[in-house]
């Protein structure tokens, strides 16, 4: 399994043809207490770089962009009752959705763990 990062602070775990998507620990730290996550419908077709989900803190709402193009196959329903999972376990239990990957070429240009860390250090 490979983990990729975007410069929009999303992480992607690729397993076969399926990607799991969430926001990074750095992102949740910037947002503060998460109070709500609006997830896409299962079956929704998302396009790389376009809105896929919304994550809300008390005084801010941020769009989460689809890091790749594909179809949403599963969403993390645990976030509905417990959005704080995004704070406590952003890169594990606090995942957002799973999607099919229609074009693996879109993975090019994404960062690995190390590159993302130095990207954040530069912010």
């Amino acid at each position: 399994m490979a983990r990729y990062f975007t410069d929009e602070h999303e992480w992607i775990d690729l397993e076969g043809e399926t990607a799991t998507v969430g926001i990074t620990d750095f992102a949740q730290g910037q947002l503060g207490d998460i109070v709500f996550v609006e997830l896409p419908d299962v079956g929704a077709v998302v396009e790389k770089g376009k809105d896929a989900a919304v994550v809300e803190s008390v005084k801010a709402a941020s769009d989460v962009y689809a890091p790749l193009s594909g179809e949403v196959v599963e969403v993390n329903e645990a976030l509905e009752d417990d959005p704080a999972l995004v704070n406590s376990s952003p890169e594990d239990d606090g995942w957002f959705f799973k999607m099919t990957v229609s074009d693996k070429a879109e993975l090019e240009g994404l960062m690995d763990d190390k590159a993302y860390k130095s990207f954040c250090d530069g912010l």
């Binding site: 709500f36 008390v58 005084k59 709402a61």
Partner: protein, 455 residues
């Protein structure tokens, strides 16, 4: 000038501190050609309190106040007695001159009041959650339609309007829909004893996002909301119930109980007064708490402070324009806070017992009026059912009759011709509203006056 505390000594001391030679120097960024050289054309100089009051009183006297007439107007605005303590409380400076409660530590008065108001409205409407108010019933109605479109995630765009929806409300919906992608399916109003629920149901299909039904409707009749709700839900559409007379809900089942998904309406009847049409009070509630995040407008919620004491805050603000900007659920900002207070105080004075008594008295007098007016030769009551307002069909031009009767200080009702201009079939219709402020003598006055003009 009585509203301006600075004197010339203050002004010059302040200019010294600023380092400006005169006040014009502070307007240096205003291009010379944009500055007015003289006073506003025609506007008199400042005036005393006495002079202004005199001028305004002269204008006020050119109007026929409802209290000075036998009064039967309704159609979305009703005359009810408002207890004196309501006006006293809304004039307390701490309510009147406060801002939107964005600093909750020093706005608990407004916030707790809003929480109580939301709870009262939710219960009255039979819903889970009500917001902290909209501008008025008609704009709340449009906002409900827009919300239904959001619930359908924009995949359904057909809005089915009942033909017996208040025509101004329908016009607001039509106007706004011109600028969104909603397709409005209206129907002409028809003067039948019972509302055409089946005709409405037949117009609902898979592409329908919502059905909008007024209850009681513009002619005063009571549609079968339960049946309409079932039909709407079968097709995956929401039922929006519109109520323009909240007092009715002390006597008839709430729209929420009957299955309406969004309930909106005008709250003016309770606490607010006629005021020539505004400011009024838009009420907005949803039956299913799952829909809360799709709602427009402010919401007040309970929480605790750092010492664990209960307190209230505006919450779920990320739906709103000041945070979400172009992705907000509505552009609404200022709403009807003080009218919500008036509503809440009046509703507190009434309580359930008082509201039920008030509703019973309204209905009782309306029944007496229907019976008496139905006996006027050349007039008959259209409705099979009604609460405190019904449609009278008269042999003649109702609008002319209404105008003519004003000379006898009789405000006979709202002619349907005024509400539905150009629809000749409705020309004989007169909407008659009766509240606890109407006396049996008033009813007799109207009946005799009609007998005279119809003879």
């Amino acid at each position: 000038m009585r509203y301006l505390p600075l004197n010339d000594a203050d002004r010059s001391a302040m200019l010294d501190k600023i380092g400006a030679p005169d006040v014009d120097a502070l307007f240096v960024d205003v291009p010379e050609e944009a500055r007015l050289s003289g006073p506003i054309d025609g506007l008199p100089m400042h005036a005393s309190e006495m002079a202004v009051e005199k001028h305004m009183r002269r204008l006020s006297k050119k109007n026929l106040a409802a209290a000075d007439a036998a009064f039967f107007l309704g159609a979305g605005a009703y005359r009810h007695h408002v207890p004196a303590s309501v006006d006293h409380i809304i004039q307390r400076g701490e309510f009147l001159t406060a801002y939107t409660p964005y600093q909750p530590e020093i706005a608990q008065g407004t916030l707790q009041m809003l929480f109580e108001f939301q709870s009262q409205v939710a219960r009255l409407y039979g819903c889970a959650v009500a917001n902290a108010s909209m501008y008025d019933g008609s704009t709340a109605c449009w906002e409900a339609v827009a919300m239904a479109s959001r619930v359908a995630r924009g995949k359904k765009r057909k809005v089915v309007l009942s033909g017996a929806l208040h025509p101004h409300y329908a016009e607001v919906v039509r106007t706004m829909a011109k600028f969104t992608e909603d397709e409005i399916a209206g129907a002409p109003p028809s003067l039948t004893a019972k509302p055409d629920d089946d005709g409405l149901i037949a117009r609902i299909d898979e592409s329908t996002s919502c059905v909008v039904v007024q209850y009681p409707d513009i002619f005063g009749r009571l549609p079968d909301l339960e049946k309409i709700a079932e039909a709407a839900h079968d097709k995956g559409a929401l039922l929006i119930a519109v109520n323009t007379e909240p007092v009715a809900l002390g006597a008839i089942k709430s729209p929420g109980e009957l299955g309406a998904d969004i309930v909106v309406g005008e709250g003016q009847s309770i606490g607010v007064g006629l005021q020539f049409g505004g400011p009024y009070l838009g009420l907005f509630a949803v039956r299913d708490p799952k829909h809360v995040r799709m709602m427009p407008g402010r919401l007040c919620g309970e929480t605790v402070d750092a010492e664990g004491k209960r307190g209230f805050v505006l919450t779920l603000s990320t739906r709103e324009q000041h945070i979400r900007r172009e992705k907000a659920t509505s552009n609404i900002c200022t709403n009807s806070g003080l009218c919500a207070l008036a509503f809440s105080v009046h509703m507190t004075l009434l309580g359930e017992k008082g509201l039920r008594s008030l509703a019973t008295e309204n209905h009782r007098l309306a029944c007496i009026a229907a019976e008496r007016l139905g006996k006027v030769s050349g007039a008959k009551v259209l409705n099979e059912s009604f609460f405190n307002e019904f449609t009278l069909l008269i042999e003649g031009d109702a609008r002319k009759i209404v105008r003519d009767l004003t000379s006898q200080d009789v405000l006979a009702g709202v002619a349907l011709g005024r509400l539905f201009p150009g629809n000749d079939a409705l020309g004989k219709g007169l909407l008659v509203a009766v509240t606890e402020t109407t006396t049996e003598e008033d009813i007799e006055t109207l009946a005799s006056a009609l007998e005279e003009v119809l003879a």
